[in-house]
Every structure is written in structure tokens, then in C-alpha cells.
């Protein structure tokens, strides 16, 4: 694929627009889960190992608790830029060697940065596990910043920004809405970074970041696949245990104050299909309200049988597509609803229909069938997430990092089972209030263009 299938980057934002509910659901016995072993090294770094011999490969995911939420004006986007620099040379390996060695030994890698975390992913044949430990520990211990690489990588990230934000109408709208919805909390910062900051990062900024955030005590590593835990821990002792711990990074203490009224923004760009999105302040990933919101959003907009799809796409033809998204992070994030309006369509009408569906849910609550559907979708999603070694590594990381314990992954199905229709109804009324939301519309500059010629009207 042309896109960054292997590019060192995925943005939380990009993921946000593609996924369905990240839900799980009824706590079943998971084959092999009893073999998961953990170990915390003396320097504070935790390892979670899940042996799984289905294929002769390993997925190694290293999560650092740092993302654009840790940034400030002047260095926005630096968490993501740092992620790129993690592939660009250490004191012992020249820029590019990390990738050349890994690929030459049958491995592949990627990484992504979100508002909350930066995650490095290695996929490799189990026979080279030791070598991958060597590579991963080297960049945790010895990262170096080549001035020439910093400059060329700036261009790479700028190109990434152009594709995912500047030349993508949804990317543009979401970025502006995030910056509007948060007036105090750093979730207002776009993970890719504002253009002037992309042009402005200095090597000293990167060095500070490395020291503060890339410490073993700020990381958790998940190793899933064809491995023996004892052998993995031996490699951890050899390669990771000697990396010194650092003082805990400064906490993000700013809390977003309650929103006191609806905010609206309008973006003018070339567009045949206008866009509308709404974002409400809600809860942190670990709160029960987050689970309730996931169920609520799935009933509203997940799949062809959802309320918004049936009303806006099927019945009224007021949208080409609809969707929902919940930003699950350390701090209270946003719940999103969005719609692509047909060419020449009336954005106001689409908005009114969304409002009607939300009001109906807040007044009458979901049906019993809808609650069962959400549970079943969560349960099936839980199992689909565990079909691959990389899915397992991702799911373990999600629960260890955002919920404080990877074992909560296995409780997720029963937690979804426990969510009631009344809770969903209450959340629709208390969270999805106009005063608590930001509404964003993207439309063509002047008069909306005529529908495309040759359309099926």
C-alpha cells in the first residue's frame, strides 16, 4: 500500500476515523491466558510475556507513557517527531541500521503516537528474539540525534501532515475541533504538531524529551508469541536491566474546566461533500462512564443497523456515511459523532436529524435488543482482537497502560455485560448536551457546488 503501512507513524487521529468500537465483552476462558507471566526489573521496567506457539513469530510492543498531552506551545508534535527519531541512529548504530538489521533478519516494525502514548511495534521470527532485544535496548539507552537526520525527518513528518491533515478534509476538521473543544488541557494539541512547530523543533528539545520520558520506569514491554518466558527474562536482564531509571516525568495536572456553552466552528475548503462533526467532553479510559459511552456510541453509530445509519443514510439520505468515536486516554477525552453530507446536501438538516436521534436516546433509552447487540459486538470484538499475536500485544498494552492492569482485559466482556439501559440513557442526557459540545462544519468556500455531473439523481 502506498500509505504508511510500514511508516514510522500512525496518528491516533487517523486511527480514530477508521475504527469501530474497540469494545470487548462476557468473561470467557481464553486459551493460553493462564500462561502469561510478568516481571518488573529493578529499574522499574515491566515486562508482560504471553507464550503462543501458533506461528513461529513474535510481536514485541514497547509502550512509553508519553504523547502529545505532554507537550506545550513551541514543541507541539515533538512526541510524534521523537518517535520518528527513534529509528534514526544511536551512539553504536548509524542512522538506518536499526531498520536494515531488523529487516535483514526477517523482522518488520512500526510505531504510533497518540495524545497519551507512544508505542513501538516489532514483528519478527522467534529465532532472532535476542537480536531484537539488542536493537530495542540500544535505542532506549544510546539514542543519538544526527543533525542532518533531524532536518530530513522534518520533511517526512511535514509530508505526513499534508496527507493526513492538510489534504484530507476530515483531518482538517478534527484538528480544528480538538483545538476548540479544549481550552486548558493539552488534548488541544494535534499529535502531528502545528506547522510552525514542525519547522522549529531543536535537537535540545529532543534530548530533553529523551531524558524525561524514555526511561525504563516510564515503559512497559509486551512480548507475545513463540517464546519461552524464562528465556525472555534472561534477555531482559542482559539488555534492559542495566538501563538506569530516571525521576518520574512531570505529571500532567491541568484539568479541563466544565464547558459552559456550545462552541461552533466553520472551516472553508474545497469540498464537494460537506462534513459535520460533534464532540462532547466525557470520561477517561479507566472510568466506568467510558464503557457506558462506548456502548452508547455503538448503539448510535456502529454498523448498518445503528440508529444514525438507519435514520440518516437509509431513511433520509441525509448522509453518505456516519460514524462515532470515543477517545480513550489517561484524562477525560471526547466522544465524537460525525457525518459526511451528500454533495449539495443541507448540513443544517443533517445536524437536526442527529440531534433528534440523540434526543430520542436520552428520552427513551436503548431497547433491550440494542443492549444485547452491544454486548455481543463487544464479545466478538474481544475474540477478534485475540486472533493474532499482535492483537494480543495491543490488547494487553491497552489494559495495562490505561486501566492499570493487563488482567482487566479478561474482565472486559463481563464489564460490558453489566452496563444497563438506564446507564446508557442517563449518559445520553448528561453527556450529549449541547452546552457540553463543539460542533464543526466543513464546507466549500462560496456557494455549495452543484452535485457532481452524472450523479444518480
Amino acid at each position: 500500500m502506498l500509505a504508511g503501512a510500514w511508516s514510522a507513524a500512525g496518528l491516533a487521529l487517523a486511527m480514530a476515523l477508521t475504527l469501530g468500537a474497540v469494545a470487548q465483552a462476557a468473561s470467557p476462558e481464553v486459551p493460553g491466558a493462564s500462561q502469561i507471566v510478568t516481571r518488573t526489573l529493578p529499574n522499574g521496567m515491566k515486562l508482560v510475556v504471553w507464550p503462543d506457539k501458533d506461528i513461529p513469530n513474535v510481536a514485541m510492543y514497547t509502550w512509553y507513557r508519553v504523547g502529545s498531552r505532554n507537550e506545550r506551545p513551541g514543541i507541539t508534535g515533538i512526541s510524534h517527531f521523537f518517535e520518528h527519531m527513534m529509528f534514526n541512529g544511536t551512539k553504536t548504530r548509524a542512522p538506518g541500521e536499526f531498520d536494515r538489521v531488523m529487516e535483514g533478519n526477517g523482522g518488520a516494525n512500526n510505531a504510533y503516537t497518540s495524545s497519551d502514548v507512544t508505542v513501538y511495534q516489532n514483528w519478527f521470527p522467534s529465532s532472532v528474539t535476542g537480536l531484537i532485544f539488542d536493537l530495542e535496548s540500544d535505542r532506549m539507552r544510546n539514542l543519538d540525534f544526527d543533525a542532518g537526520k533531524v532536518e530530513s525527518e522534518r520533511g517526512v513528518v511535514y509530508s505526513e501532515r499534508r496527507s493526513s491533515i492538510d489534504n484530507d478534509n476530515f483531518g482538517t476538521l478534527i484538528e480544528q475541533m480538538q483545538a476548540t473543544a479544549f481550552v486548558a488541557h493539552p488534548y488541544q494539541i494535534p499529535t502531528i504538531g502545528w506547522p510552525s512547530d514542525i519547522e522549529g523543533w531543536k535537537v535540545t528539545d529532543l534530548q530533553d524529551y529523551y531524558r524525561q520520558y524514555y526511561a525504563p520506569n516510564n515503559a512497559v514491554m509486551f512480548i507475545v508469541g513463540d517464546v519461552d518466558p524464562a528465556a525472555v527474562f534472561k534477555l531482559a536482564d542482559q539488555y534492559l536491566a542495566g538501563i538506569p531509571a530516571q525521576p518520574a516525568p512531570p505529571a500532567v495536572t491541568t484539568k479541563e474546566p466544565p464547558q459552559l456553552g456550545e462552541r461552533r466552528i466553520r472551516i472553508e475548503r474545497d469540498a464537494q461533500t460537506p462534513l459535520i462533526a460533534m464532540a462532547w467532553h466525557t470520561a477517561a479510559a479507566s472510568a466506568r462512564e467510558a464503557r457506558v459511552m462506548e456502548v452508547l456510541l455503538s448503539i448510535l453509530g456502529d454498523g448498518d443497523s445503528s440508529r444514525l445509519y438507519q435514520r440518516l443514510v437509509e431513511k433520509e439520505q441525509a448522509a453518505v456515511d456516519v460514524g462515532t468515536q470515543f477517545d480513550a486516554g489517561f484524562d477525560p477525552g471526547l466522544a465524537w459523532v460525525y457525518a459526511v453530507v451528500p454533495p449539495g446536501g443541507d448540513v443544517t438538516r443533517t445536524e437536526k436529524l442527529i440531534d433528534e436521534e440523540i434526543a430520542r436516546l436520552a428520552k427513551d433509552g436503548p431497547t433491550a435488543t440494542e443492549i444485547t447487540k452491544a454486548r455481543n459486538q463487544a464479545l466478538a470484538g474481544f475474540w477478534r482482537g485475540l486472533e493474532t499475536i499482535s492483537g494480543k500485544a495491543q490488547a494487553l498494552g491497552q489494559y495495562e497502560v490505561f486501566h492499570g492492569d493487563y488482567r482487566k482485559l479478561f474482565d472486559a466482556p463481563s464489564e460490558y455485560e453489566s452496563i444497563t439501559a438506564d446507564e446508557v440513557k442517563a449518559a445520553a442526557a448528561t453527556v450529549l448536551r449541547p452546552e457540553n459540545r463543539t460542533v464543526g462544519v466543513l464546507e466549500a468556500k462560496a456557494e455549495p457546488k452543484a452535485p457532481a455531473k452524472g450523479g444518480a439523481k
Binding site: 541500521e97 538489521v101 536493537l135 499534508r162 448498518d304 437509509e314
Partner: protein, 465 residues
């Protein structure tokens, strides 16, 4: 450098694991009375079942000028079938946490389903209904057609990377069936009538065209008679499976410039006719393409991204249908760097022809391919799709089981002959560029004759005379 040596010292071990570690799971297969081919694999590590139904024909059966017919047919079979209307059909799937999608490709169309094992009977019922008892309702047809048109328009407002192959194939294969857009264009979809869908269904969908694969947590002994009951007595398709002849390679460098006035980057696609799915040289092509444009450290990505920072990504790939499909290079760069980036891509292609691969690159590529292969057949859905693909192209399990040996057998001579035969020369590639035409129009004339269209034009290639 020390660790690089270490890396290659470890290489033989990695290769041995790749070679021995991957065996395609044993499958039970049968041919039903109407000619449908069925193949089953039990895999019980999760309580899920995946089903893949492939129907030979696909977009090749679309009437000329009404491209998108097969694709609309696959949209419509999800909008009411058997005793369920559109809403009821969606609810039946989603209420149990299942997924069921249908779509058309150039040479086949298909249904993919994934359900929890407790719902496997429902899955079979829904798939059988969709294929054998679709309602093909007139109101649903109008909605589906309108939505298909609007979705293309919406894609033109989004990241242009998603559109490159639609324009690329249309330009490279113009005049050949592979150049006809399977999803249709705004213009061709406007011409499709419900009668076209019904005729397509009668002529190009039926029991003799089916390949059904099921993988996951079920009992094969009961599944086989179930499938026979559900699909074995279905009528055959009324027409013969459409066939195509090999497309001719393009000489020279015809340029298609698609004007997107607000674009701040130029997105480009360069290619020529490449290879078929059963080309004896396909493994050697993959070994070479891995080095040239198939991974992060590839020659293309090294030049355009890693060394120069011109782009977020540059890559190349083969698309391999039953006759030779496209080999293409894709990347993008800031508008003012358009020519620099395209020149660099063409120079890199020239260097591949001149220098070939050295021994280290060959070994590195083989190791990478073998190391990354096992995760491609890890899930029920991946295995079901791979099995269907093998049956579709008449390949057996040796396609997987002997893959490692085939990869390792590629030697310097095979590399050289593959570069000569399967990779185009930089003077013979079609170019598709999406970008701000006013700013690049003159500069790109140097590549070849330029044909221009607007992104808002309702087609993916200029209208033919």
C-alpha cells in the same frame, strides 16, 4: 557495523525456521453436484468462524459503459434477502456481533463473514440468502446507486492516496478490461439500471462459479452436509466465465494529470504491465520488489524518504490477476518538489536495471519475506481467503508449503532475468499525477505527452472518443 555482521551471522537460523515453520493447514474439500467447490479447516483457538465465498467473474461481467454493475450487485445483496428486508438483514448480523461484507473484484466477487461459533447456522443462512435469494428491490437499488456515487465524490475530498490505483489502473489499462473501474465511476454508475443487476445475477452468479472456504471453530463432519444442503442444488450461472487476454505493455510515457487545485502535495503513480498470479517468476519478482520498493529500507523509500525527506512514503508493488496486472511505484511530495521526487523514482528504477541486487540484498530480502510470511496466514479470515485464492488460481497447498524453498531458490541469475523481464524501463511507464495542475503542468511535460482532467470529472480516465 559490528552488529550488522552479527545480524547476518544469525541469518541461516532465521531461514530454517521460516522454511520449516509454515505448513498450510490440512483441509477437507469437496465438489458439490452443481460444481461448487467447498474446502474446510477446523481451527479452534478462538470461538470464531470465518467464511469466504468467491464467485468467479466479478467486474469482467459488467456491461461496457456500466462499470460498477457487479459492485452494486454486491451492495444490494446485503440490502434485503430471503425473508429479511435491508434493516432486518443488518440487524440479524449485528445483533449477534457478526460481520458480513460483500464486494466485487475484477475477476471475482465475494462474501466474507465472521461470526462467533455459536451463531454459525445463522451465518450460513445469511450468506446463502444473500447469494441465492437477494430481493434486488428497486428502492434499495436507487439508494445503493446514489450512495455509491456519493462515496466516490466524498473520497475525492479526502486523502488522495486512496484514489491513486483507481486512476492508475484506468490510465494504464485503458482499452483493456483491467482498466474498467470495478466500483464504477460517477459517470458509469449513472447508467446502471436495476435490469442490468438482474441480468448480471442471472448470467454471472450461480453454483458452478462458487468457491466456499470455512475456517475456524466448527465440526467439519457436520459442516460439509450443511453446505451441500445450502448451496449444492443452486442453479448454475447462465453465461460462461468472462476471460481476458493479456494486456499489452505500454511504450513511452503518457502522463495523466488530475487537477486538484487545493492540493499542497502531488501524488504520483508510475507503472506498466507486470505479471500474473501464476507467473513462474512470481517469487523472484517478490524477492526483487522487496528490495526495490516493498519494505521500509527499500531502494525507493531510502531515496525519497530516508535520505531526502521528500515524502512520508515511497513504495512499489505488483498486482497479480489471472493475466498480467500492474507493476507500479507510488509516492507523493510537496507541490514544489514534484519533479525532483518523480525524477528520483525514475532514477531509482534505472539503477535497479543497471546494478541489480548484490548478494547481501538478495539474502536480506529472502530473510525478510520468510520472516514476515507466517503472520499473513494467522487468522481464520486470512486462512479462508488464502485457501480460496489457491483454489481460484488452481494452486495447491504447495503454493504455501513450498514457498520457502521457492524463495530460497531465487539466485543471482533469476534476479537478473526478472529485473529484465518484469520491471519496466524508466522510459516506458505511464504516469498519473494528482495535484495542483496550475503549478506543475509545464514542468511535467518533460516526461511525455500530458492529458489533463479535473478531480471533479465523473470518470477515472478521460472519456474515450
Amino acid at each position: 557495523m559490528r552488529s550488522l555482521a552479527l545480524a547476518f551471522a544469525l541469518l541461516p537460523m532465521a531461514l530454517a525456521v521460516g522454511a520449516e515453520g509454515v505448513k498450510f493447514p490440512a483441509y477437507k474439500s469437496a465438489t458439490l453436484p452443481n460444481g461448487a467447490v467447498v474446502a474446510l479447516i477446523e481451527k479452534r483457538d478462538t470461538p470464531l468462524v470465518a467464511m469466504n465465498v468467491t464467485v468467479r467473474g466479478g467486474g469482467l461481467g459488467d456491461p461496457t459503459g456500466r462499470e460498477g454493475t457487479a459492485s452494486l450487485f454486491t451492495d444490494l445483496i446485503q440490502k434485503g434477502a430471503g425473508n429479511r428486508n435491508a434493516a432486518q438483514f443488518a440487524e440479524a448480523i449485528e445483533n449477534v456481533g457478526g460481520s458480513l461484507t460483500a464486494g466485487a473484484g475484477t475477476e471475482s466477487l465475494g462474501v466474507n463473514a465472521s461470526f462467533m461459533s455459536r451463531d454459525v447456522d445463522l451465518m450460513l443462512e445469511l450468506v446463502a440468502d444473500a447469494l441465492q435469494r437477494p430481493r434486488l428491490d428497486a428502492a434499495e437499488f436507487e439508494k445503493a446507486r446514489t450512495l455509491a456515487v456519493q462515496s466516490i465524490v466524498a473520497a475525492k475530498d479526502a486523502d488522495p492516496r486512496a484514489l491513486m490505483s483507481s486512476y492508475g489502473d484506468a490510465w494504464l489499462f485503458r482499452g483493456h478490461p483491467y482498466g474498467r473501474s470495478v466500483g464504477g465511476s460517477e459517470a458509469s454508475l449513472a447508467m446502471v439500471k436495476l435490469d442490468d443487476i438482474k441480468r448480471y445475477y442471472a448470467e454471472h452468479v450461480g453454483g458452478d462459479r462458487l468457491i466456499i472456504t470455512v475456517v475456524g471453530d466448527f465440526d467439519a463432519a457436520t459442516m460439509l452436509p450443511q453446505l451441500e444442503r445450502s448451496f449444492g442444488s443452486w442453479r448454475k450461472a447462465g453465461a460462461a466465465v468472462p476471460t481476458v487476454t493479456a494486456p499489452a505493455r505500454v511504450t513511452g510515457r503518457p502522463v495523466l494529470l488530475v487537477d486538484k487545485p487545493d492540493a499542497t502535495q502531488t501524488y504520483f503513480w508510475l507503472g506498466n504491465v507486470g505479471a500474473s498470479r501464476t507467473d513462474p517468476a512470481r517469487t523472484a519478482q517478490s524477492v526483487v520488489n522487496t528490495v526495490f520498493g516493498g519494505r521500509f529500507t527499500s531502494m525507493l523509500n531510502t531515496e525519497l524518504r530516508i535520505k531526502s525527506g521528500l515524502t512520508y512514503g515511497a513504495s512499489s508493488s505488483f498486482s497479480r490477476p489471472s493475466q498480467p496486472g500492474s507493476f507500479h511505484i507510488g509516492s507523493y511530495a510537496e507541490t514544489s518538489k514534484t519533479v525532483q521526487a518523480i525524477d528520483m523514482a525514475l532514477d531509482t528504477l534505472a539503477r535497479l536495471h543497471k546494478d541489480g541486487l548484490d548478494a547481501d540484498q538478495l539474502k536480506s530480502s529472502q530473510s525478510y519475506i520468510l520472516g514476515q510470511f507466517p503472520p499473513t496466514i494467522e487468522t481464520n479470515g486470512q486462512i479462508a481467503a488464502r485457501l480460496a485464492d489457491m483454489l481460484f488460481y488452481g494452486l495447491g497447498p504447495e503454493d504455501v508449503n513450498e514457498y520457502a524453498q521457492r524463495v530460497l531458490k531465487v539466485d543471482a541469475a533469476a534476479v537478473r532475468s526478472t529485473i529484465d523481464q518484469s520491471f519496466p524501463q524508466p522510459d516506458d511507464v505511464v504516469l498519473v499525477l494528482i495535484g495542483d495542475a496550475a503549478k506543475i503542468r509545464d514542468a511535467v511535460k518533460k516526461y511525455g505527452p500530458v492529458t489533463e482532467m479535473k478531480i471533479t470529472d465523473p470518470r477515472f480516465a478521460p472519456a474515450t472518443k
